[in-house]
C-alpha cells in the first residue's frame, strides 16, 4: 500500500521537556488514521511538526514521498488542515471565508465557486452563507472551520480534534462529512481524545501518551490487547453479599462491583458470558430491570496500558 506520510524518529522538545518522543509511524493512502490520546499527549505537536510549523529536535518526515519542509509548496498544495482552534476571519461571511481559503489553492474562479459550493454541502452550511462567524453556534462554527480546511479538495487532510465542544447533532454531521471525504479518496489523519469517534471512523489507530506511541493497530486489534474480553452490566435492586460472592465464582468472571443498584461484571475470557448470567438470575429468582453486554472500549485499553483514563 502506498505511504502518504512517513514519520521516522520524530522528537520535539519544549524547554528540555519531550513533547514528542521518538515517534515513528506511516499513514497509508486512503485510510483514516486516528491519533488517540489525552489532552497534552503530543497529538497536536505531532501534527504541527509534520506540517513544518514547528521546529523539531530530530527525525525525518516525508509526505507523498518527499521531504516536508516550509518551502515544499507542491506538497502543501495537496494538504488540508482543520486546526483544533477555529481559524476563520470574523470580518468575512461564511461564504467569503471558505472562498478565501479555497482561493489560496484554486485560482480558477468557476472551479472555485463549485468547490466552495461542494464544501458548503458537505458540512451542511448552505443556508448560512451570508452569516458572519460570530452569528453561528459553536457547532456550526466548527463546521465552517472544517469547510475552510477541506474546500480545495486536498488529497491529505489533517483533522485536529474537529469536534471539541460540539453538540451531538453537529458532531454526527461532522463525522458523516469526514466519512464522505474518505469515500472521495482523501487520506485522513484524525486526532481526538474521543474514543467513540475513533471507533466509528478510523481504519487504524495510534494511541499516544506523553509523546510516545503506546499501542497501534485497528480498533479490534487494540481491543484484543485488553485483558478484559466482556463486560456485563445488570441493573438490580438490593443484591445481597451472598449473591455477589456466588457471581464471583461463576465461570470466566474476573471482577464484580456492585454500586448504586448496578452490578458490573468483567470477564477475562469466553464469549456470550451474558447467557450464564441471565440463567443465574433466573435460577435464583432475582428480578432485574436491565442487563447488557459490552466489549472492552479503547478507554479500557488505554486504562490498562497507562493506568489512567483517556479524558483525565
Amino acid at each position: 500500500m502506498k505511504k502518504v506520510i512517513e514519520v521516522n524518529n520524530l522528537t520535539k522538545e519544549y524547554k528540555g521537556v519531550k513533547a514528542v518522543d521518538d515517534l515513528s509511524f506511516d499513514v497509508n493512502e486512503g485510510e483514516i488514521l486516528g491519533l488517540l490520546g489525552p489532552n497534552g499527549s503530543g497529538k497536536s505537536t505531532t501534527i504541527n511538526s509534520i506540517l513544518s510549523l514547528l521546529n523539531y529536535k530530530s527525525g525525518n518526515i516525508k509526505i507523498f514521498g518527499k521531504k516536508m519542509d516550509t518551502n515544499a509548496y507542491d506538497i502543501k498544495s495537496k494538504i488540508g488542515v482543520v486546526f483544533q482552534d477555529v481559524a476563520v476571519f470574523d470580518e468575512l461571511t461564511v461564504y467569503e471565508n471558505i472562498d478565501y481559503f479555497c482561493g489560496l489553492y484554486i485560482t480558477d474562479k468557476n472551479k472555485r465557486k463549485q468547490y466552495v459550493s461542494d464544501a458548503l454541502d458537505l458540512v451542511g452550511l448552505k443556508e448560512f452563507t451570508k452569516f458572519r462567524p460570530k452569528q453561528l453556534s459553536g457547532g456550526l462554527l466548527r463546521r465552517l472551520n472544517i469547510a475552510c480546511g477541506i474546500a480545495h479538495k486536498p488529497k491529505l487532510i489533517f483533522l485536529d480534534e474537529p469536534t471539541v465542544a460540539v453538540d451531538p447533532q453537529s458532531r454526527n454531521n461532522i463525522l458523516d462529512g469526514i466519512k464522505k471525504l474518505r469515500d472521495n479518496g482523501a487520506t485522513i489523519v484524525y486526532t481526538t481524545h474521543y474514543m467513540e469517534e475513533v471507533e466509528i471512523l478510523c481504519d487504524r489507530v495510534i494511541i499516544i501518551d506523553k509523546g510516545k506511541i503506546i499501542a497501534t493497530g485497528t480498533v479490534d486489534e487494540l481491543k484484543n490487547l485488553s485483558n478484559i474480553k466482556e463486560k456485563v452490566t445488570v441493573e438490580v435492586l438490593d443484591l445481597s453479599d451472598k449473591y455477589i460472592e456466588e457471581i464471583m465464582s461463576l465461570k470466566n468472571v474476573d471482577s464484580v462491583i456492585y454500586q448504586n443498584n448496578e452490578l458490573f461484571v468483567t470477564y477475562k475470557k469466553g464469549k456470550n458470558n451474558i447467557v450464564e448470567m441471565i440463567d443465574y438470575f433466573k435460577n435464583k429468582r432475582i428480578n432485574y430491570s436491565k442487563i447488557f453486554v459490552e466489549r472492552p472500549t479503547l478507554n479500557d485499553v488505554f486504562l490498562e496500558l497507562t493506568g489512567k483514563e483517556l479524558r483525565d
Binding site: L53, T70, Y73, S77, F83, V86, E91, E96, G103, L104
Partner: protein
C-alpha cells in the same frame, strides 16, 4: 494569488470596526474637536497683550530692539506693552500688579505663575538664546576670517552668513514671513497621528498571517501561497486603507474645517506617503516584537503614537518647544514630529531643505524598522505556536 490575498485583506481590514474607528473616525472626531476648541484662539491671542517693564539702563541693543518690535503698536502681532523704568519703579509696578513681570539684566522677574508669565518667560528666553547664538556665530566667523589671514573683514557679509545660519538652526517661530498659527500645528500633529495610526492596520494584517500569532495565520502558512506574497499583499492592502483614511481626513479638514495646508500638493502627498510608511513599519515591528494579544498590541500602538504626538505638540504647542529646547534628539527620532515639522516647514519656509530632511528621516526610520522586521519575518518555523 497576490490579488486574491490583497482583495480579501482589504475586506478584512475594512470590516474591522475597531480599526476603522481608530484610523478613520478618531482623527476626524479629534479634528472636529480641535476646530471647535481652537477656532478663535488666533484672534483672542492678539487681544491678550502682556504688560511688562524693562528695568535698568545698560540694556543690550539687540535685546532692546527685539522687545521694541514685539511692543510696536503698529505690529499686528504685538505681544507686549512695555515700559522702560528704573528697577524700583519696576518692582512697584509688579507689586501693584500693573505688569506681569519685568526684565532686569536680560532676565525676567515675575511674582506668580500663569499663562502670561509663561509666554513672557518663553519669549525672553528665546530672545536671549537668539542673541547668544548670533553672537557666538558672529565671533566664530570673525575668528575664521582672521585665521585665514583676512584682516579686511566684510562685516556685512558676515552678518548675512550669521543670518543664514540662524535661519537653519532656529525652531518654530523665527524666520517665517508668514503669520504663525498655532492651531495649524495641532492639525499637523493630527495628520501625523492619522499617518501613524496606520500602524494598527499593518499590525493587524501581520497578526492575521503569522502562524505564531493567530489561528488564521497557521492556516495561511500551511497553504501553498508563498510567505512573501502573503506579507506583501497584506501590507499593500493596509497601506492603501491607510492612505484612503488619510485622504478622507484631508478632505474633511480642508473642506469642512477650512484648514489650509498650503498649495504644495505634491509635497503634501509625498510627506503623507512617507508618514504612512512610518506608520506601517511601526505596526509591523510591534506586531513581530511584542508577544502579546492583538488588543494589547492595539493598546501599545495607541500609547506610542499618542506619546509621540504629545511630544510633537498635539496637546499643547509648548511641549514641542520644550523638547526642541531641552532634548532635541527626542524630536529628531520622533516620527510624529518629523511629519509635523515637515508640514510646518513646507508651509512656513520658502526652501525645501528642512522639509526634505524630514521626509528622508521618515523614510530612514521606516526602513530601519522594516529591516528589523524582515530579519524576524525570515524565520520559517517556530519553537511553539
Amino acid at each position: 494569488m497576490f490579488l486574491h490575498n490583497f482583495i480579501y485583506a482589504l475586506k478584512i481590514l475594512c470590516k474591522n470596526k475597531v480599526l476603522i474607528f481608530w484610523t478613520f473616525a478618531f482623527p476626524i472626531i479629534l479634528g472636529t474637536l480641535f476646530n471647535l476648541a481652537f477656532s478663535n484662539i488666533s484672534n483672542s491671542e492678539k487681544l491678550d497683550v502682556i504688560d511688562i517693564a524693562v528695568a535698568g539702563e545698560n540694556i543690550n541693543s539687540n535685546f532692546k530692539e527685539s522687545i521694541d518690535i514685539l511692543s510696536n503698536k503698529d505690529n499686528s502681532d504685538k505681544l507686549f506693552n512695555t515700559k522702560y523704568v528704573t528697577l524700583n519703579e519696576a518692582k512697584k509696578l509688579l507689586d501693584d500688579e500693573k505688569i506681569v513681570g519685568y526684565i532686569y539684566n536680560e532676565k525676567i522677574v515675575v511674582k506668580k505663575s500663569g499663562i502670561e508669565q509663561t509666554i513672557f518667560k518663553y519669549v525672553v528666553d528665546e530672545i536671549n538664546s537668539k542673541i547668544n547664538m548670533s553672537s557666538s556665530i558672529f565671533q566664530a566667523e570673525i575668528s575664521k576670517e582672521i585665521e585665514n589671514g583676512n584682516y579686511n573683514i566684510n562685516y556685512e557679509l558676515i552678518n548675512k552668513k550669521v543670518n543664514d545660519q540662524l535661519n537653519t538652526k532656529v525652531s518654530l517661530n523665527d524666520t517665517s514671513n508668514k503669520n504663525l498659527d498655532y492651531v495649524m500645528i495641532e492639525f499637523y500633529t493630527l495628520i501625523a497621528m492619522a499617518c501613524l495610526y496606520g500602524s494598527l492596520l499593518s499590525m493587524t494584517c501581520l497578526n492575521n498571517i503569522m502562524p505564531n500569532m493567530s489561528n488564521e495565520g497557521k492556516r495561511l502558512s500551511i497553504s501553498k501561497t508563498k510567505k512573501v506574497s502573503l506579507i506583501l499583499s497584506n501590507l499593500c492592502a493596509s497601506y492603501l486603507v491607510q492612505l484612503v483614511g488619510l485622504l478622507i481626513l484631508f478632505t474633511y479638514t480642508i473642506f469642512a474645517l477650512h484648514v489650509n495646508y498650503g498649495s504644495n500638493l505634491i509635497y503634501i502627498i509625498l510627506l503623507s506617503l512617507a508618514g504612512s510608511l512610518a506608520g506601517l513599519s511601526l505596526g509591523v515591528v510591534v506586531s513581530i516584537k511584542f508577544k502579546v494579544g492583538e488588543n494589547a498590541k492595539i493598546g501599545i500602538l495607541i500609547g506610542i503614537v499618542m506619546f509621540w504626538c504629545f511630544l510633537s505638540g498635539m496637546m499643547g504647542i509648548t511641549m514641542k518647544y520644550i523638547v526642541d529646547k531641552n532634548i532635541p534628539i527626542l524630536n529628531k527620532i520622533n516620527p510624529a514630529n518629523m511629519i509635523t515639522d515637515g508640514f510646518y516647514s513646507l508651509y512656513y519656509y520658502d526652501t525645501l531643505d528642512r522639509y526634505l530632511l524630514n521626509v528622508i528621516s521618515l523614510i530612514v526610520f521606516s526602513l530601519l524598522l522594516l529591516v528589523i522586521s524582515i530579519l524576524n519575518l525570515r524565520r520559517q518555523k517556530y519553537d511553539s505556536i
